[in-house]
Symmetry: C2
Subunit: 174 residues, 2 copies
């Protein structure tokens, strides 16, 4: 049941320091890339960061005392948004679809990880310019998110806190 996996996936803020084995990481990244996207343009590049580079990246997600738990994270995936190439006639701000596509591929990444017993935390606050410099990310690429990955120090998951369904789900009319 997918719902079990959805309940298992949570934002983990307590890691035991172990990195995600490289082969498993590649498998998780490949599964994430099965994500859909507008016009199948796949406007993302997932940059996995391990070892010494992960040590250098760590403080870049810890500005202003944020994300102290990242001290024990040894694997990061930097989610980059690339230029979406959409079909003629797709209306609106075309790059706006890319942001949703980036959300989708990140969701897939965290689910693929949870399925393999790998915990994640999606980080939205980081020093983008420093990360771009560290990883040689081109000027025109946007770093949208950084996903911390590893193994939870404690077993079990928290109870999910969500708005009442009546607020987030409706039928036929607002």
């Amino acid at each position: 049941m997918f719902k079990e996996l959805a309940l298992k996936r949570e934002s983990c803020r307590g890691y035991d320091g172990r990195p995600v084995p490289h082969e498993l990481l590649q498998e998780i990244l490949e599964t994430a890339c099965l994500s859909p996207s507008a016009c199948n343009s796949q406007p993302w590049r997932l940059l996995a960061v391990e070892g010494e580079t992960a040590e250098k990246l760590r403080p870049m997600v810890q500005a202003a005392g944020l994300n102290r738990f990242a001290d024990k994270v040894s694997t990061f995936v930097v989610i980059c948004e690339t230029k979406a190439s959409l079909k003629e006639g797709v209306s609106g701000d075309r790059q706006r679809f890319a942001q949703m596509d980036v959300g989708m591929v990140t969701m897939m990444l965290t689910l693929a990880a949870a399925d393999q017993g790998v915990s994640t935390c999606i980080l939205g606050c980081f020093r983008e310019n420093k990360i771009k410099e560290l990883l040689n990310i081109p000027e025109d690429v946007v770093v949208r998110l950084v996903v911390a990955m590893g193994y939870a120090e404690k077993e079990g998951v928290r109870k999910k806190v969500r708005k009442p369904y009546s607020e987030t789900i409706g039928y036929q009319s607002w």
Copy 2:
């Protein structure tokens, strides 16, 4: 294995006309709402549309000859983005996170559906103003996507076409 579900989920453009049973729809929507979001602000409202209202909505996703297959879609979910309420100190364009959050909840919705044998297609082109009028959606809410839902007329899934992994996955450096 999550990968099996990820391979099973695809954008279906051939439906048999049957609606998704209401109880199952609710279950799928509830699972989708387990999606994470920045500061857990859940900036979405999922409006499910069935029956006569679905018939009225149908032409609104078929402007300019688009999405003819929707003629045989009897269930839609309109994905609305609501104002994100984020913690102090979360930097950047705060509503930008909401777009990624909307991508995530939509991804969850399509996976929860696929898990139940329900096919989906995420639609990005539609007459937003007409949909807002039909469903009494408030002025300040944005309709980001519409998800067509139903049962595929054919069994089996297509082979997924994706960029080579070397383009979408990298290590340590761009």
